[in-house]
Amino acid sequence: MPDSLSYAQVAAQAPVVSLNGLRIDFRTTDGVEQIIKDVTLRIDPGEIVGLVGESGCGKSVTAKLLLGILPMPPAVVKDGRIEMFGRNLATLSDAEREAMKKFVAYVPQDPSAVLNPSFTIASQMIDMIVWYESDRRLLTYFRKRHTRAIVARARDHAAHLLEKVYIADPEQVLRRYPIQLSGGMRQRVLLAMALSGSPQLMIADEPTTALDVTVQKRTIELLKDLVEREGLAGLYITHDLGVARDICARTYVMYAGMTVEDGPTGPLLDSPLHPYTRGLVEAIPSLEGGLPGAIPGQVPDYLAPPPGCRFAPRCPGASERCRSTPPRREAGTRRQVACWLYDGVHA
């Protein structure tokens, strides 16, 4: 078992996550689905990076890969380099990869689907804390979960974690069942639970879509504050570009398994470069009025995706060269775009 210190030290200098030219196929009964074609993504320590795109474009597959819960098979990594905390995943043993899970926290989309309705918040939080304390080993876990002193200490720790997410009366919340809490409160509990390991990286998969706007705003503020205080890095997955603007310093736009554009979120949304990003921004009804513009066509069939740029069949600026894969180019300050329109010209 590698010790945690070395990871923490490495993480301070190297990117927390670095995906380069990632390609993942899924073997299904219908044939090989080429879900991820080219994902390049980097998360530096202390920054929250956004991953936006429509449903079915591979956002969750990317998240599952980083969480180490992507089922392989059916998924097969065909190409590319995956580095986490400065280590190349391909060179690690299964045990080392398992140990790494401790440093990755996860905040899921729907808090009511994740919390077990039959157990109190205390019981579920203690489960998590003891599980991490047992180095994720089942037998150790069972022994510890039934040792009174360990459970009492875990309960104190749970109360402490709830305080970190500004829950005023943790003891009160610990005694409750999930149904007795509001949606915003449940999401806070999950944020607290995400801290029960010793996370370096927090992956949040649309954690605010089930919430009302007013609660959403509060949760976003809390998440930002928490990531900063705990010195984490974050990957925030969303289809809501407004939410991405509020929370993510940098954002990657994903389409059909390709990261097509990335850059600081504000400039990216105010002057999008890639035709897909432009279409996506224009499709959102503006508060200034007028009907939003629509992107024609639909997401490609992953069994037989178009060659080259996968957005080409829907792209207003497509030409012959789009039949080969466009290179990723620098385009302005800290911005990159994978589109032939920006090849060789300085935007």
């Binding site: 706007v213 007013t214 705003k217 509060r218 289809h239 921004v281 508060l287 200034e288």
Partner: protein
């Protein structure tokens, strides 16, 4: 309330019976007022939006307006006729006037029926007997919602979210209604699909001179399609006005809170929403609602006297605006 209201809610209340633990053994029934004394007038040909957060009663109100449920108190009047308690033959002929499109495009289509069968049902119920007539009508309707004619033989499971919503709209239009109630028509869809459904709805409205009631929590959608808006909180309408009025000059503190929480996509939009500090607070209990203003617990502009007075009535201001707030309308 204007004289020309086409669809009108007149002091409508919908109360649900709930059971809760009583004293000692056994259960006690209590009444939960999901929609509480709401009056609204919707004009012919307009797009009227109802906004509010979950639990505000907007879907219950939509169901009442479309006569899906029956109000506990009050009346719903459509084109001069009371519809709130119509049943049997009356209800069947009412379906030629008003239809509803439900929230979840997948859940509102029977997975064991083909698209053709789904759209044919209202036609059959309305007495269209000829199979060939129906097939012709189904083809027309599919074309109207921009779906290929061969979709009639497909099952909902093989359709995408946007296509399912088009089938729902086609079914709602089958009997040529004058008004459609749309409950969160695009909230389950991706933005690019949402944009297309909104465009379709606006085309249909123009072609068929429809009146829409749209329930939504998305202000962008409201801005794009609606003429007037009612903001709901805790079962009551707290503000009514045109979209322009509401966006440019929101009067009720809840409207301001709601607008200020919108995550804007473009920097240019930030100037269009109020910047206020929201107040955290719990929603009051639906079973023992407070006598004072129900927004008090979360109101950023609350004053001590708000606690002493009853819930503020919805008071008409100039230019057809209505607001329910003591601080805006002043002492009665």
């Amino acid at each position: 309330m204007s004289e020309t209201a086409f669809l009108q809610a007149d002091s409508v209340t919908k109360a649900f019976k709930v059971r809760r633990k009583g004293e000692g053994f056994g259960m006690q029934t209590a009444s939960l007022r999901a929609v509480d004394d709401v009056s609204l007038g919707i004009r012919q040909g307009e797009v009227f939006a109802i906004v509010g957060e979950s639990g505000s009663g907007k879907t219950t109100l939509a169901n009442l307006l479309a006569r899906v449920t029956v109000p506990t108190e009050g009346r719903i009047v459509l084109d001069g006729d009371e519809i709130s308690r119509s049943s049997g033959v009356d209800l069947r002929s009412l379906r030629r006037q008003i239809q509803i499109v439900f929230q979840d495009p997948g859940a509102s289509l029977n997975p064991r029926q083909t698209v053709g069968e789904i759209i044919a049902l209202p036609l059959k119920l309305a007495g269209m007997r000829g199979r060939r007539d129906r097939a012709e009508r189904i083809a027309e309707l599919l074309e109207a919602v921009h779906l290929p004619a061969d979709f009639a033989s497909r099952y909902p499971v093989s359709l995408s979210g946007g296509q399912k919503q088009r089938v729902n709209i086609a079914r709602a239009l089958a009997l040529e209604p004058q008004a459609l109630v749309l409950d969160e028509p695009t909230s389950a869809l991706d933005v690019s699909v949402q944009a297309r459904i909104l465009a379709l709805l606006m085309t249909l409205k123009k072609e068929r001179a429809l009146t829409y009631v749209i329930v939504t929590h998305n202000f962008g959608v409201v801005r794009a399609v609606a003429d007037r808006v009612a903001v709901m909180y805790f079962g009551k309408v707290v503000e009514v006005g045109t979209v322009e009025q509401l966006m440019a000059d929101p009067r009720h503190p809840y409207t301001k809170t709601l607008l200020s929480a919108i995550p804007v996509v473009r920097e240019s939009e930030r100037a269009l929403i109020p910047q206020i500090e929201a107040r955290d607070g719990e929603l009051p209990s639906f079973i023992d609602p407070p006598r004072h203003c129900s927004f008090y617990s979360r109101c950023p502009a609350r004053q001590p006297q708000c606690l002493e007075r009853d819930h503020p009535p919805l008071v008409g201001l100039s230019q057809g605006r209505e607001v329910s707030c003591h601080m805006v309308t002043g002492p009665a």
